[in-house]
Amino acid sequence: MIINSFMLALRELKRNALRSFLTMLGIIIGVASVIILVTLGSGATLQVTDEIASLGSNLLIVSLGKRLGPGQTSGASAFKLDDAEAIANEVPDIVGVAPNAGRSLTVVVGNENWVTSVTGSTEAYFSVNNRELTKGRSFTAGDARRGASVCVIGDTVRRELFGALDPIGEKVRLGNLSCEVIGLLEAKGQSTVGTDQDDLIILPLRTFQRRIAGHDDLNLIQVSFAEGASTERVQDDIRRLLRSRRHLSGNEDDDFSVLDMKEISSMLTGTTRLLTGLLGAVAAVSLLVGGVGIMNILLVSVTERTREIGTRLAIGALEREVLLQFLVEAVVLSSLGGLIGIGFALGVSAVLAGMLQVPFVPDYSIIVIAFLFSAGVGVVFGFVPARKAARLDPIEALRYE
């Protein structure tokens, strides 16, 4: 009887192919959006975690404001090179301190130009950030002290400005500073948030401050500490040091933050997860709307097929058989919509993952849940029309015009 009802339902849906498809559309969109969002969301989360893990767990970032992010540095005075040096000298277990100052600038070579992010730092930048050079050399402590006009460029900058040519020894112009390319960074690809990690130029900090920025503020300080040292302890030491250097009294809050990569990672993935969850919830609502659509169409269908139902009842169909017929129809409709939605979602998220350069990680549990949910929508919203059909009085149903 079940298989029979199933075949019957399929035939009924085929008869009204366009209507069935339109009815399913709500479910298709609902299921597809839930799956696309979750798939891309977990891809992004995985990428963040991977990337941050690759930076190593013994990196701290000292920045202004209470939280990482723009627009929250209000009132706090900027860090200076002294602060970075104080951290390096006074906190135990520190391996490297890289002060960072930077801005976006147009780089010119001949008649090529390219807008990139220009960062002034010390020679510690390369070890702290795990960046290797494929060619040339990084600047020396002497270059940094002197404020030499030298720079290390990322692979994207090389490609855009030099193409196939060897950039080492060439001059690039940054505003009114002309500096010599002495090294090329190993390519690293895109970061989690979609920025190109090879689209950068590193200068000695002093060169940047004197010749480009015109002041000696730092944006942030990167600190790497010894493997095996306690992260909390190093964080606390840095906090205490900076509080005393910035003359914060006991009851004042920090106007800077010292975050380790785990915190940054959880902050970023937390945001992704929250967003995925919220959008997923919105998408789930469209599943319910799809269910109401199914109920509506089935009610119309029951009315339209009143005589058919009457005939079936007269021939000897039991109440539950008619109920089952319509219920199966609703479930077939909604789960077919669910299947189409899943297929569509996998296709779209594979393409989108490629475009956004996040890993494509289909979450099978979400796919199964979405499918069961769509079938469930069929049962729930199919029940009322099915019961209406089953409870028809055969005499009146046969007389129905």
Binding site: M1, N4, R11, R15, R307, E308, G310, T311, R312, L313, A314, I315, G316, A317, L318, E319, R320, E321, P394, I395, L398
Partner: protein
């Protein structure tokens, strides 16, 4: 079942729709016995109670009072589902407006009652083909009702009614939507089932011509049986 007991027996059956002063008394105490193999034409003006009586005989409705015994089964005491099972196993229905499923082939329409009987697909197909052949529609199996004439549609409906070899065939104005030539053909068909297969036939009709194919004519007036006559020779004369 004792062969002397009638197949169908109504004893003082009444049917009242509604309550209080607005109540409609469709049947006011009907007594009727129908034996196996009979062919009864039920006549009467609209509102005379004949349709109500047919609904009760077809186990689609139950009497308000009185007793309806079908093969000694008291139908009035059965549940809705039990009556459905009784219809499924013993009764066949033919309607004035055919009531075939649209966009469904003739063969599948005829198979429908067998689906509810749980017959296998192969058996259903065989029996349905055979039934269509009996009603003279061999070669029309794959046609949908829209592709068939009125007479052909009613033949499909009749094939659907007899494919289960019912004890009783209930026909509600089977020729009401057909011209006289098609009507004669349908009546011949019904008569042959009665003669050859021994199927008991209860048929509502307005037309005396059609009633003349029956063995017995029951006429309703105002919720009561006004006359109940056996006809013998007209049938021979007509054929």
């Amino acid at each position: 079942m004792n062969s002397k007991d009638p197949l169908i027996q109504l004893r003082d059956v009444t049917k009242v729709y509604g309550e209080g002063p607005a109540a409609v008394h469709a049947l006011r105490g009907v007594d009727l016995k129908i034996g196996q193999g009979d062919f009864v034409a039920v006549m009467g003006a609209s509102g005379s109670g004949k349709s109500t009586c047919m609904n009760i005989l077809g186990c689609l409705d139950t009497p308000t009072a009185g007793c309806y015994a079908f093969r000694d089964i008291e139908v009035g005491k059965l549940s809705r589902d039990q009556r459905a099972l009784l219809r499924r196993h013993y009764l066949g229905f033919v309607f004035q407006s055919f009531n075939l499923l649209n966009r469904t082939s003739a063969l599948e329409n005829v198979e429908l009652p067998l689906v509810y009987r749980g017959a296998s697909a192969r058996k259903r197909r065989e029996a349905a083909r055979e039934a269509l052949e009996v009603v003279g529609l061999r070669g029309w199996e794959t046609h949908s009702p829209a592709e068939l004439s009125g007479g052909q549609q009613q033949r499909v409906a009749i094939a659907r009614a007899i494919v289960t070899r019912p004890l009783v065939l209930l026909a509600d104005e089977p020729t009401g939507n057909l011209d006289s030539e098609r009507s004669q053909e349908i009546m011949q068909l019904l008569k042959s089932f009665n003669d050859d297969l021994g199927i008991t036939i209860l048929m509502v009709t307005h037309e005396p011509d059609m009633a003349s194919y029956a063995k017995r004519v029951v006429t309703f007036i105002d919720g009561l049986i006004e006359s109940d006559k056996r006809i013998r020779h007209q049938v021979e004369a007509a054929s």
